[in-house]
């Protein structure tokens, strides 16, 4: 088995009209055989699965047991949580100055004594640290490596697809008709986004607890994405992002179009995918009925809509009674399912589907929203992505019926 590390330029951020300064890295585990049976993208969620030792074990396990090329891609903003042993750089925590001042106010209001000079924020933090019995909440921004920001899904999906093309061009020998994505939570969501952008390229998706649409707390810095406890401090963390919600005319506005392109269960877009593809992708999903991060209702809707479009879909719905301590360790988000066991459960239920991949077919996809059209085209082996103002044809403008005009 061989391990190779590559670096390549990521897709530009076509929504914000900016280039990428941070390269995309990937680690590729290749089985010992001359020709692998396919390729699997191992896409961890934002938590502990991102651990570099764990990722390596999962890749080696899948590559060896199933004769697949196993790939981890450090796609855009994939590394966005601190305290993980990652292969792709460190996330730093930037404490918001106003929250330090608020914490100091709370300290004083609770009888805390300021008996040292406070010349900067570090002095304040040292003071607040002195009494471990007093706890403070501080707002913090997570800064991913290379000044990345939370784009949420689009760029990460494109980076994975670019990685696939890169590996084909590098001469890696694998069955391109058997490209699988496995991921839990955000990783599973990225997998579905990859299928949305390359419906003839992805042959199978295995997801646990993957949400179907944008999680607002991940793209609005005012909300708390997750809490991080460090001694008597609790950091209410958000990842750095560039979206705003108040100026509709600006490219940074996160409006309905931005949300819909990131919705993997949106009916109109699923229709576009179905029309442009051979519907070869097989979906294997597992989801808890009490998941508080990813709506079980929307997951069921996604299943129903994919099925209605003719896809091979299986959704295992898990309740408290299904917790077995082995595959399913809890009914919470993620269900504590190890990726190796998830793969063992579902990969054998999939079959290779003979189909040309999108870059061979030169697929063209146009996803329309209220104001913007997102176009993804495959030309000369490359993906081209753009979002432009929708042109509404005359036939699409609703003409009031005669009776309505009369009234």
């Amino acid at each position: 088995m061989a391990r190779t590390i590559y670096e390549f330029a990521g897709q530009p951020d076509f929504e914000l009209k900016s280039d990428r300064s941070h390269p995309v890295s990937m680690i590729v585990e290749t089985p010992e055989t001359e020709h692998a049976d396919g390729l699997v993208f191992v896409i961890p969620g934002m938590g502990g699965e991102r651990d570099k030792h764990y990722s390596e074990m999962i890749r080696r396990y899948i590559a060896s047991k199933y004769n697949l090329v196993a790939v981890s891609v450090d796609a855009h903003c994939s590394t966005c949580r601190p305290n993980c042993s990652t292969e792709f750089g460190e996330v730093t925590i930037d404490i918001e100055p106003t929250s330090i001042v608020h914490a100091l106010g709370y300290y004083v209001s609770q009888g805390g004594v300021v008996d040292v000079p406070l010349q900067n924020h570090n002095d304040v933090i040292a003071l607040l640290r002195r009494d471990p019995s007093m706890t403070f909440k501080l707002k913090a921004m997570l800064e991913p490596p290379g000044r990345q920001y939370q784009n949420f899904g689009v760029l990460a999906a494109l980076d994975h697809l670019t990685a696939l093309h890169f590996l084909i061009d590098q001469g890696h020998k694998f069955d391109t008709g058997n490209v699988i994505c496995i991921g839990s939570s955000h990783g599973g969501y990225i997998a579905h986004m990859m299928h949305k952008f390359a419906p003839n390229t992805i042959n199978g998706i295995i997801d646990a607890s993957a949400y179907t649409e944008t999680v607002p707390s991940f793209i609005d810095g005012k909300w708390t994405e997750f809490d991080l406890t460090d001694g008597n401090f609790t950091y209410e963390c958000s990842t750095t992002q560039k979206w705003q919600f108040v100026q509709p005319g600006d490219t940074t506005f996160f409006g309905p179009d931005r949300a819909l392109i990131r919705d993997t269960a949106y009916g109109d877009h699923l229709a576009v995918i179905a029309d442009a593809s051979s519907k070869t992708c097989q979906f294997r999903m597992i989801h808890s009925t009490v998941d508080r991060v990813s709506s079980p209702y929307l997951k069921a809707l996604q299943r129903d809509r994919l099925k209605a479009r003719g896809f091979d879909v299986r959704l295992d719905v898990i309740g408290e009674a299904d917790v077995d301590g082995k595959l399913i360790k809890s009914a919470d988000h993620g269900m504590g399912i190890a990726l190796n066991l998830l793969f063992d459960r579902y990969y054998p239920t999939m079959s290779r589907k003979v189909s040309k991949i999108d870059r061979e077919r030169e697929t063209e996809l146009v996803f329309r929203g209220p104001k913007l059209s997102y176009a993804l085209t495959y030309r000369q082996g490359q993906i081209h992505a753009d979002a432009t103002c929708s042109e509404i044809s005359a036939s699409e403008i609703e003409t009031p019926a005669a009776s309505q005009i009369a009234s």
Binding site: M57, R60, K65
Partner: protein
């Protein structure tokens, strides 16, 4: 070259690594010890432990056996198998 090793010696060395990685008492580790017996031996800790053992013994375990370990004794057998058959880590 593969280093000659026997199970008792391997068990002792594995127990010491386990004690260091999981902050537990290595004298309490036996061949029949399982992950459930040791606080903090979850899937992430298991991955860390496996990588550390590979590094210390200078072996590379077959990928398909990485998760196929029910107890410390299985891990010891795996280490001995790899050292005996000469599955040595590159570099």
């Amino acid at each position: 070259m593969a280093k000659a090793s026997n199970s008792n010696d391997t068990l002792t060395r594995v127990a010491i690594i386990l004690g260091e990685e999981l902050a537990c008492n290595p004298t309490g580790i036996a061949a029949h010890t399982t992950a459930d017996d040791v606080d903090g031996w979850d899937s992430l800790a298991h991955a860390r432990l496996i990588m550390k053992i590979e590094e210390v013994f200078n072996v590379r375990f077959p990928g398909d056996r990485l998760f196929d370990l029910d107890c410390v004794g299985d891990l010891v057998i795996l280490v001995d198998d790899c050292t005996r058959t000469g599955i040595i880590a590159n570099g």
